[in-house]
């Protein structure tokens, strides 16, 4: 066991995977010699050679399109998009190609590819370094979407994603790279070395795709969250004293319906939290899933706490961010008539 940041955990996942399977290749913008702008691939080129870890031209469609070709050949490319905000030029290749190649070829060709991308706000990145596009993946059949919230999960899920035989979008909440962020931006930062989930085995292990984790058991209300929002929800629960059951979804698609349904049926209440814009965000789907699976158990209106339907503004970052105050207010509201 070692103490790792999320960056180190992600790097270790690629390292372990490249060591075990020489079909695993890693590339992307600034990923080779330099090791990535967030340093997630540092040292991999040196260790595995420039034909297993290399810099790519600045062309996201090219990165993903070439990875599809490599995957069809039989490799397991794990590519990096520098920020999730820059995946859009590659969105055609992701949704129209990677997502459908198994289906349209009736299994003749498959795309075991991972697209890693830092996601979310909280670092004053403005509208083009802060986006959370997970809903745009979830709507398209044929792609898996994983969003880890801590180093242990990040490593285990990334290895599982690389081993997965289908395309996986792997969204890394960049605000969590160096520590669990409770949403109080004005307080000192807690490093991963002081958090249990910063304990990460150096060797191979996996965390299964499609399984949520209950971060806090509770009886009064179910909170559905993922990524950075898991800690914000924990903070809000602590600060309001509401006995919340906090579920860290970890995988957005396929969604762990059973865990969600069991919890909401138990608590009868639900708050959904994400950082992405509200309308048609993944929270809408969670709302629908709760309606479809638990309607008869609901004792109060389900509430979404999300980013607003605006671009992510630079100066007003902390007004935009759904922090502990907003989540706490929702927890209290959902308990009002209890």
């Amino acid at each position: 066991m070692a103490r790792m940041t999320m960056i180190q955990a992600v790097r270790s996942a690629m390292d372990v995977s490249m060591g075990r399977d020489d079909n695993v290749v890693v590339y992307g913008e600034d990923v080779g010699f330099f090791g990535g702008v967030f340093r997630c691939t540092e040292g991999l080129q040196k260790k595995y050679g420039a034909n297993r870890c290399f810099d790519s031209p600045i062309n996201e469609s090219g990165i993903i399109g070439s990875a599809i070709g490599m995957a069809a050949y039989g490799l397991r490319p794990c590519v990096e998009i520098q920020f999730a905000d820059y995946m859009y030029p590659g969105y055609d290749q992701i949704t129209q190609e990677a997502a459908r190649i198994r289906y349209r070829s009736n299994n003749d060709f498959t795309v075991p590819m991972v697209v890693r991308m830092p996601t979310g706000g909280g670092i004053f990145g403005g509208q083009t370094h802060s986006q959370s596009p997970e809903a745009l993946f979830a709507h398209v059949a044929g792609i898996k979407t994983v969003i880890p919230s801590n180093p242990y999960d990040a490593k285990g899920l990334l290895i599982a994603s690389i081993e997965d035989d289908d395309p996986v979008m792997f969204l890394e909440p960049k605000r969590l790279y160096n520590g669990p962020f409770d949403g109080h931006h004005d307080r000192p930062i807690m490093p991963w070395s002081k958090h249990d989930a910063g304990e990460v085995p150096e060797d191979y292990y996996t965390v299964p795709i499609g399984k949520a984790a209950v971060r806090r058991e509770g009886e009064e209300v179910t909170v559905l969250a993922y990524g950075t929002m898991v800690y914000v929800a924990e903070t809000a629960a602590k600060e309001t004293g509401v006995d919340a059951e906090i579920i860290d979804l970890r995988t957005i698609l396929p969604l762990d319906l059973e865990t969600i349904e069991a919890s909401v049926r138990k608590t009868g209440r639900c708050v959904i939290v994400h950082e992405a814009t509200k309308t048609c965000g993944f929270g809408a789907e969670l709302m629908a899933v709760v309606m479809e699976g638990c309607f008869d158990h609901l004792e109060a209106e389900v509430i979404r706490v999300t980013g607003y339907d605006t671009p992510y503004p630079h100066a007003h970052e902390w007004d935009y961010f759904p922090g502990p105050a907003r989540v706490g207010a929702a927890l209290k509201k959902v308990m009002e008539n209890a």
Binding site: G65, A141, K144, D166
Partner: protein, 415 residues
């Protein structure tokens, strides 16, 4: 900024390219200079792009008017192999004709022929080896029809019937066959062009000896993934042959809309240091020779080559299209590069290796072959009358393992 006010300038105008001929015009291509067959050099396969700049602006041709093969690109194929090639093209033509008809008869929803362009895919396929991989568009049926891919399976796919190898999931003619080096066709243009480059990079990463071939139409070179492919192929010197099939038209728009009446499609490669060759796409022998050169080059580790195959889309874009609305009917006949089947036939006859009678006989044989395959396929059903694969198939293979939400949807659908 300079304070000078521009008010004395003349107004700007938008230039919108127009083809020379529209319905009602009499097409006349006498001003188009077609290089003589046999002209031009045949460089070594490790030549730098800049040294053969000219080959991106000319048209490499082998067969002259007398049906002789001349010049440095001639002499690649034995008569036996040329005869095979002729039959391949004739098979494609017979297949297209019958499937066009089948669509009109309501047996399927859609078809796309490659009339007039048969030489390109048929000759190219002979330059590849087993294990190599094509990333085709919808007009390279010749790749499959010149290999031993079963005709019946092609028709099953076109009919979306119960024996469709793609389980009814794909639009007609969107074939897939890994075994036959044929990547699954996409309905979205150009995406495959860069995927082929990625496949070739993978082969190089693994120290393999296989190469890839990407395909694209003239109109689709405007798409961005054409650029992605050139950038990646150039940067990593990927072992890939990048084929542009310039058949002059992209549905109703002529090639000027994709290139602004300037340069050639081939010359786009030069800005990436990629050698580019323009070839007479209706000259089977020329296509084969140039394709072989490019494939050898890729295999020898010299990297990518771009080939522009100059041809003419003699038919409609698809069964949904009627070209008489936007181009003169006679344009196809007026087009100066002739018919690929006729030209290869004449070549063989001139060599005494073929005759009119043999030709008729071959055609009949191939038509019968296709008709027989169709009959077999129809036993498995047609699109509108069925049977099809089970609707359950709709829910399979979205992922390797079907996740819970999709299993619930399947249950709800009762299949």
């Amino acid at each position: 900024m300079s304070p000078k006010n521009g008010s004395d300038d003349k107004p700007l105008e938008l230039y919108v390219p127009e083809p020379e001929f529209r319905p009602g015009d009499k097409p006349d291509f006498s001003n188009v200079t077609i290089p003589q067959a046999g002209e031009g050099e045949r460089p070594p396969i490790d030549v730098p792009a800049d040294d053969i700049r000219k080959l991106a602006y000319t048209i490499i041709r082998v067969m002259n008017r007398n049906g002789e093969a001349v010049g440095p690109w001639a002499g690649e194929l034995s008569d036996e192999r040329v005869k095979e090639g002729l039959e391949d093209m004739m098979r494609v033509r017979a297949f297209d004709a019958r499937m066009q008809m089948a669509q009109r008869q309501g047996k399927t929803s859609f078809y796309m022929q490659c009339l007039g362009e048969e030489a390109i895919a048929c000759a190219f396929s002979k330059a590849l080896r087993p294990g190599d991989m094509n990333f085709p568009t919808y007009r390279q049926q010749g790749l499959l029809l010149s290999s031993d891919y079963p005709l019946v399976d092609m028709i099953n796919q076109i009919y979306s019937n119960s024996a469709d190898p793609l389980n009814g999931r794909q639009l007609p003619i969107m074939y897939t066959s890994k075994e036959h080096g044929f990547f699954t066709i996409s309905g979205n243009l150009a995406t495959q062009f860069i995927q082929g480059v990625g496949w070739a990079m993978a082969s190089a990463i693994k120290g393999d000896t296989k190469i890839a071939a990407s395909w694209i139409g003239d109109g689709s070179t405007a798409e961005s993934d054409f650029h992605s492919a050139l950038v990646f192929a150039s940067t990593y010197r990927a072992p890939v042959v990048l084929n542009i099939v310039n058949n002059q038209w992209a549905i109703s728009t002529y090639q000027g809309i994709a290139r602004g009446k300037a340069a050639t499609f081939a010359s786009r490669a030069l800005g990436f240091g990629i050698p580019a060759l323009r070839v007479d796409g209706n000259d089977y022998l020329a296509v084969y020779a140039v394709s072989k050169w490019a494939a050898d080059r890729a295999r020898a580790g010299h990297g990518p080559t771009l080939i522009e195959h100059v041809t003419y889309r003699a038919g409609a874009h698809s069964t949904s299209d009627d070209p008489s609305a936007y181009r003169p009917k006679e344009e196809s006949d007026a087009w100066p590069l002739g018919d690929p089947v006729e030209r290869l036939k004449n070549y063989l006859i001139a060599r005494g290796a073929w005759s009119e009678a043999q030709h008729v006989q071959a055609r009949e044989m191939l038509e019968a072959q296709v008709a027989e395959a169709q009959k077999q396929a129809e036993k498995n059903g047609t699109l509108h009358d069925g049977p099809h694969s089970s609707p359950r198939e709709m829910f399979e293979d979205v992922f390797a393992e079907t996740p819970l939400h999709l299993r619930r949807q399947r249950q709800e659908a009762g299949v």
